[in-house]
């Protein structure tokens, strides 16, 4: 009887070990296969700011995607201009978490720009830099460099490259917010947005494109989302300079008006069973040339400070 009981205990220990492994394996919250949290100095920096991942994700999701913003630039008909990007060799200059996170976002947008113009070889070089910076921030596991390198050998894979890059950034951001490192995620997003805005501004300066000009004006709404992110972290030491800079940009946008006239939406189901909604709202951007020039100037100053 005692022998049986001992045997049963042994089985129980083995069983419990297996269960524990499964338990923690399955509890990884974002299906990314990473077991357990990474606790490092970055977590300590955030000790004064507590915000739920749901709330933070809600705010961060409202920031325009850099892929779309770079797509708008490409479809404006502007020529590809490599000089507008943050030079890849600058990546070695970044060592603080602030500079690393901001420039991870900046390089991410540059990568999006390169992909939109199908510059796959150059994009790979930027991915290498993104991976390097992400490694330093302990989130490099989300960037599969070898798969991307294989895909980049053929320009026809551009859609897959864009998809994998976008998904990698999304997984990384979700992971960061869940690991209570949302401030890093916020910096990455803000860096990405500033770079996309700066690209639009620089190209508008060269092309004087009406569409691009309107897109720059529209960013007043996006800027209010950035301000909402900064309100969460305004007391955080990492955000001190950024809060001041974004305030300058907010001031530059002060006179810009976005006028939306509501129209009746038209909803139909097409032959493939897909619902098609045609919005009949109209939007007008009211922005003077002086205001535009000021926005371009302030954006350029902020962006150049961030990449220095």
């Amino acid at each position: 009887m005692i022998k049986n009981l001992n045997l049963m205990k042994k089985y129980l220990v083995v069983f419990m070990t297996i269960i524990t492994v499964i338990w923690f394996g399955c509890s990884s919250s974002d299906d990314n296969g990473i077991e357990g949290a990474i606790f490092d100095s970055i977590v300590q920096e955030n000790a004064t700011v507590i915000v739920s991942s749901e709330v933070l994700n809600g705010i961060l999701n409202a920031v325009p995607s850099p892929v779309e913003m770079t797509s708008i630039i490409e479809s404006s008909g502007a020529d590809y201009n490599e000089d507008l990007l943050n030079p890849s060799e600058n990546s070695d200059n970044y060592s603080t978490n602030y500079k690393l996170a901001i420039n991870l976002g900046i390089y991410g947008t540059d990568m999006g720009y390169l992909n939109m113009y199908e510059k796959t070889v150059k994009s790979l070089l930027y991915l290498e830099k993104v991976k390097g910076i992400a490694d330093k921030l302990k989130v490099g596991q989300f960037f599969d460099f070898s798969t991307m390198k294989r895909l980049a050998s053929n320009k026809q894979n551009i859609d897959s490259i864009i998809y994998i890059s976008t998904l990698s950034f999304e997984k990384m951001n979700n992971y960061l917010t869940e690991q209570k490192r949302g401030h890093i995620s916020a910096l990455i997003l803000i860096g990405g947005w500033i770079e996309a805005l700066n690209l639009s501004c620089q190209i508008e300066k060269i092309t004087d494109n009406k569409d691009l000009r309107d897109r720059i004006g529209e960013q007043k709404e996006a800027l209010s989302q950035i301000v909402a992110v900064l309100e969460v972290y305004e007391k955080h030491p990492l955000f001190k300079d950024l809060v001041v800079d974004i305030e300058k940009l907010k001031k530059a946008y002060e006179n810009v008006q976005i006028v939306i006239t509501k129209g009746e939406d038209n909803v139909t189901i097409d032959e493939n069973g897909m619902m098609v909604i045609e919005s009949n709202d109209t939007q007008e951007i009211k922005m003077s040339t002086e205001d535009l020039e000021n926005i371009i100037k302030v954006t350029e100053e902020i962006r150049n400070k961030l990449i220095s």
């Binding site: 069983f15 809600g58 999701n61 897909m274 939007q283």
Partner: protein, 141 residues
Amino acid sequence: MKIKWLLFLILLMFISSVGYSQCSKDKLLSSCMNKLGNYTFVKSYKVETNEENPYLEFKTYLNKDNKYMIAVASSTKNKKVVVNLYDSNYELISSSYYKPKELYVDRIVFKCTSSGVYYIEAFLQGNAPGCGITLVGFQKM
């Protein structure tokens, strides 16, 4: 007797952990991605609902002159993911449940004419607890 209780508790933990892992975003992502067709992927949102939280709400920024596809997929049997799209003033634009034909669609195309924040509300048919995904892709108009 104690051991039996312990085994029972462990079994419960095991069942709940397996249940949790069944709502895998990665699996749903690959099954739903094809629905986007030639739209460029922008974002994905996991729709994991329970009795306390049958509805989920996501913010998204949509740009003027882009067409957006919102595609949904569910891994909960006989329960489709339903999405409602709202504008920045929280006015309903449309739902993936098309009332005139009593039809649940799994793809919505929205032709956006004003940039800004939009809201996507997602839930499972009948407010059931379950698991699904919502993807957003875009294309130039």
